[in-house]
Symmetry: C2
Subunit: 111 residues, 2 copies
DNA sequence: CTTTACGGTATCCTTTTTGTGCGTACTTGC
DNA sequence: GCAAGTACGCACAAAAAGGATACCGTAAAG
């Protein structure tokens, strides 16, 4: 999205979670800390470049934590910060609504 | 967003409301039906082309209704469908979280 | 007679986002 | 000794989103 002045809190939140893989990444991170490649495999389809970018953005926004163990071969763990965990109600709301929507969609297709 | 297979309901919902002006438009439509130009003025900054596109997409997804009065000069009213209105909890969650985030941001800046 | 408003469509262009593929430094397993 | 895995960075390319502008037909206002 191009830059735009944001006045409404709703947009603030959207600005932080809008990103092709962010919500799903957050979703998976609710299971607990994950290593980079583990996450990438779970998200099936992200390239490392994109995943890195989105995780780093979320780190910058304070919703994801990055722990670099400085080992060789590299080991990096991503996890949700408390702020990130506080997104749970939103994720739940999105999930619930999406599920209901899909059911309705299915029902409509039968007609 | 480029095309991508969607497996998770969370993504379904995000796919429908991700769009530069969609959530704010929905926000304003919670006030009641609005005419096109009225909405455009309220959203300060959208071009009519973009607003048209986003409204039509939402119409296609079933969350917005479009009533064309077939008058001259044209009169078209947009409103939320019941499905659109059912997004309220999500909007509220986004709003609440965004507000809390902004306060925290402000607090951090003072440090 | 000109301007303004309405609700768009069509065309072109810029910005933003995401993907592709290569390179890296080092270790472990075969 | 060679491949595979780890967590990226980087240059380049493609795709998608959004914006700028012109135009349309009609009518009311000035």
């Amino acid at each position: 999205m191009p830059k735009k002045e944001i006045f409404c809190p709703v947009e603030v939140t959207m600005g932080l979670i809008a990103g092709r893989w962010k919500v799903i990444a957050i979703h998976y991170l609710f299971d607990g800390p994950k290593r980079f490649n583990q996450l990438q495999r779970e998200l099936r389809g992200v390239t490392h470049r994109t995943l890195t970018k989105q995780l780093r953005e979320m780190e910058g926004d304070g919703i994801v934590l990055r722990k670099d163990y400085k080992e060789i071969p590299p080991r990096v763990e991503y996890s949700l910060s408390p702020l990130g965990k506080s997104l749970k109600p939103i994720l739940l709301a999105l999930h619930e609504w999406g599920e209901a929507y899909c059911k309705k969609e299915g029902a409509n297709r039968i007609k």
